[in-house]
Symmetry: C2
Subunit: 154 residues, 2 copies
């Protein structure tokens, strides 16, 4: 298991346990250390922008005292949605590792297809390098979420 993706998965598990929102977690890594972490808190904080990546970016910037994270990498348990992808761009992160992809997310009820249709990503133009990692382990948290009958669907 990649240790940083493992930490992102721990965040995602925490989110499922707390019923904070979708089963998604992320960490920001700088010089081999985690400088920010977060999980989806859309329901827990009534904030539609509180996706895992946004929360991790905000925490890393707060901890480092800067808004430029170009020397950092982002590990996220699921492919970033267009909002998070654009936030990654504004944070100047160019190195992103993700576990599950948009189709895995759709299988558990997070169908972002409409948004992907409206804002289709032109990967050949992108400066962000996206690498898939540890999908199976990330899928386990999706299953945990699906099995929780008391989760709030949104």
């Amino acid at each position: 298991m990649d240790p940083f993706m493992g930490e992102a998965i721990s965040e995602a598990r925490l989110g499922v346990e707390n019923r904070d929102g979708g089963p998604f977690g992320a960490v920001i890594v700088c010089n081999g250390a985690i400088v920010g972490r977060g999980h989806n808190k859309v329901i827990g904080t009534n904030d539609p922008t509180a996706h895992a990546e946004i929360n991790a970016i905000r925490e890393a910037c707060k901890n480092l005292g800067k808004f430029d994270l170009s020397d950092c990498s982002l590990y996220t348990t699921c492919e970033p949605c267009p909002m998070c992808y654009a936030a990654i761009h504004w944070a100047r992160i160019t190195d992103v590792y993700y576990g599950c992809d948009r189709y895995d997310a759709a299988h558990i009820g997070f169908d972002d297809k409409i948004l992907y249709d409206i804002l289709p990503r032109q990967d050949d133009l992108a400066s962000v390098k996206l690498t898939q990692l540890e999908r199976d382990s990330c899928l386990e948290v999706f299953k945990l979420y699906e099995m929780d009958e008391k989760r709030t669907l949104y």
Copy 2:
């Protein structure tokens, strides 16, 4: 002057005066009342996601205690960037009024072209209705920002 765009412009002016970031402001309106407001605070808070629209959405959700703003309208002094556009989508806002456009923003140094190339918006698929309003008044705040020689460029 449209009163809600006037309030968005006041927010943008406040941001320029405080040197919080770019000269952009936004308000969220529900049943004829402002329920959230914000301006760009990328520099002031070291948060690359702290665009005017995101801040206004977060404040409105906090004030209303819900993450679904489908009964609200958003007024912003500049066309939302792809991050904010996606955030508007997640907040389920379908009624957006903007002042300046992406080309006006590029003229004062906020060239989002790379991001628009990576995430081009397919307006024919979008459920968000975008209406331009009070461009000239919004441009005045851009000029104010340009004239501030002590502003931090980013």
